[in-house]
């Protein structure tokens, strides 16, 4: 007996839960008795290789069609091809690459400082009780304060130059890296601790062979969140107060109502974000190759 999907057909299309079952269909057609029982499949079918592109491509097509037909006012949102041509122009006159480079340097510097500080302090508080008492309390308070809220103070302390910008980005990246690494260090499976005790390995060997590899998945997750937080910080500091960088380019374009330049800037941010996240994802897959996950 084939248990039919309880969803109406037009809905199953959207969920793509209902999969054709050739054996069952054939049995139904020639009225032969087929002993195979199938239930309604509740898990989604395997993903297509480039299936995730469907949404973005659809959106792009809609945008292009609406622009061409005049449905979207080009002063509010320029057409996709205008973005491409403006982008090419900006590359040619050097504005895009120059600003991109400045933004990238800021983001990377901030992320590296924040990430290293996050990992270092998480190790301090995750591995020792004293560190836990001192560092973790402060970090938990810091967690409640958005990095952006510290900008006025950072201006007071570091001035309005690069130092302040990098510190805001670093503080933004610090929090998720610290929190996830700390949590992962504290969540090391007690069974592995017992194993290490019975094998009579020393403390540092235990840290190196059991604690750190065990905490690595959490740390990688924290780094990926950290990249996103760093980019958020980058956008904020560049649009609040800057004389260079992608955010500055966007803000300047806004004053002249150059929506195409603004959009090129936005696309650049997106590209930076996607490249950064994908890079970390690749690093993660390499480093954590021993893991068996649903995604693999």
């Amino acid at each position: 007996m084939n248990v039919k999907s309880t969803l109406p057909p037009f809905l199953t299309m959207f969920f793509a839960w209902s999969q054709p079952d050739p054996l069952q269909d054939k049995a139904a057609q020639d009225d032969s008795r087929h002993m195979r029982m199938t239930t309604q499949r509740l898990s989604p079918p395997p993903a297509l290789r480039y299936g995730w592109l469907a949404g973005p491509v659809f959106l792009l097509a809609y945008w292009a069609a609406a622009s061409a037909s005049g449905l979207i006012d080009t002063r509010i949102l320029p057409a996709p091809w205008v973005v491409v041509s403006t982008g090419v122009d900006l590359v040619h006159d050097g504005r895009l690459l120059g600003n991109l480079l400045i933004s990238l340097v800021r983001a990377v510097e901030g992320f590296v400082i924040g990430g290293l500080a996050g990992i270092a302090l998480a190790l301090l508080s995750g591995l020792s009780r004293a560190g836990d008492y001192f560092v973790d309390g402060i970090a938990q308070v810091k967690r409640a304060v958005p990095a952006v809220a510290l900008i006025p103070f950072f201006i007071l302390w570091f001035g309005v130059d690069e130092g302040m910008k990098i510190m805001v980005i670093a503080v933004g990246a610090f929090t998720p890296v610290y929190l996830h690494t700390h949590t992962a260090l504290r969540a090391i499976d007690i069974r592995y601790v017992e194993l290490a005790e019975t094998l009579r390995i020393g403390y540092w060997k235990f840290v190196w062979h059991i604690v750190l590899p065990g905490a690595l998945p959490g740390m990688m997750l924290g780094l990926r969140f950290g990249v996103m937080a760093a980019l958020l910080g980058l956008v904020v500091v560049e649009e609040v107060n800057a004389t260079s960088g992608i955010g500055y380019m966007i803000d300047l374009a806004r004053t002249y109502a150059q929506s195409d330049v603004m959009l090129v800037g936005l696309v650049t941010y997106v590209v930076i974000g996607v490249i950064a996240d994908q890079t970390l994802l690749r690093v993660e897959r390499r480093v954590l190759s021993w893991r068996r996950t649903l995604a693999a």
């Binding site: 094998l199 954590l288 021993w290």
Partner: protein, 233 residues
């Protein structure tokens, strides 16, 4: 000359006594099975011998050799190390790899040394855990229900393997189990623990003749089950 000497061992958590004065000696190369219902204190006893009960309160004398090895109910392989690195982990000396390779051969897994733990079946993982314990040439092997999570067929194979390896390596063995047949099949001596006390002790001497062996195994089983509070029909 006994390898293990335990005198009047007491352990309690909060107010409830878990071990109430246990005495035990295990001779060199002797295979002892510790039987008990759940909650009888048998795992607490093994953890005390393994030195894993840091928080425990209690008193008594425990003398165990420094070179002991533990096999847990789960194989407890480190998922981020391959099979070889799991066995060799914590071993010193230039011949460590060769010894680990030999240990893997003994459990018939020499071909899997570069596999990840999750690629092995439950029984295979437990064989790796056994190799990791025996490669250390322990004078005392502590096993906490090591076959409890395995299916019946794999269990029988593991019994044969453990019996064979313990004859080769001659460690003193303390096997904690709730499986009466397992205790009879493997041990030289069975100890029944109940309410934190040794309730019964039985030396397992089975005749060589196969039929007679089966009959006396059954009788022993009945007797031990009685001590465990189970009345066979």
């Amino acid at each position: 000359m006994s390898v293990v000497r335990v005198r009047n061992l007491e352990r309690h958590f909060t107010r409830k006594g878990v071990l109430n004065g246990v005495d035990l000696d295990i001779a060199k190369g002797e295979f002892v099975a510790l039987l008990g219902r759940s909650g009888s204190g048998k795992s607490t006893f093994l953890r005390a011998l393994a030195g894993l009960d840091h928080e425990a309160r209690g008193s008594g004398v425990i003398e165990v050799p420094e070179d002991l090895a533990v096999v847990f109910q789960d194989a407890r392989l480190l998922p981020w190390k391959n099979i070889m690195d799991n066995v060799v982990f914590g071993l010193d000396g230039s011949d460590a790899t060769a010894r680990a390779q030999h240990a893997l051969e003994e459990v018939e897994l020499s071909g899997r040394s570069t596999s990840w733990p999750h690629e092995l079946s439950g029984g295979e993982q437990q064989r790796v855990a056994l190799a990791r314990a025996l490669v250390r040439k322990p004078r005392l092997l502590l096993a906490d229900e090591p076959f409890g999570a395995l299916d019946a067929l794999t269990k029988i194979r593991m019994h044969t393997l453990l019996r064979r390896l313990s004859v080769i390596h001659r460690p003193a063995v303390l096997l904690v189990t709730h499986d009466v047949e397992e205790a009879i099949a493997l041990a030289d001596r069975v100890i029944v623990l109940d309410h934190g006390k040794v309730m019964h002790e039985e030396r397992i001497v089975l005749p060589d003749d196969e039929d007679a062996r089966a009959i006396s195994s059954l009788e022993l089983r009945k007797k031990l089950l009685c001590y465990l509070g189970v009345k066979p029909q």
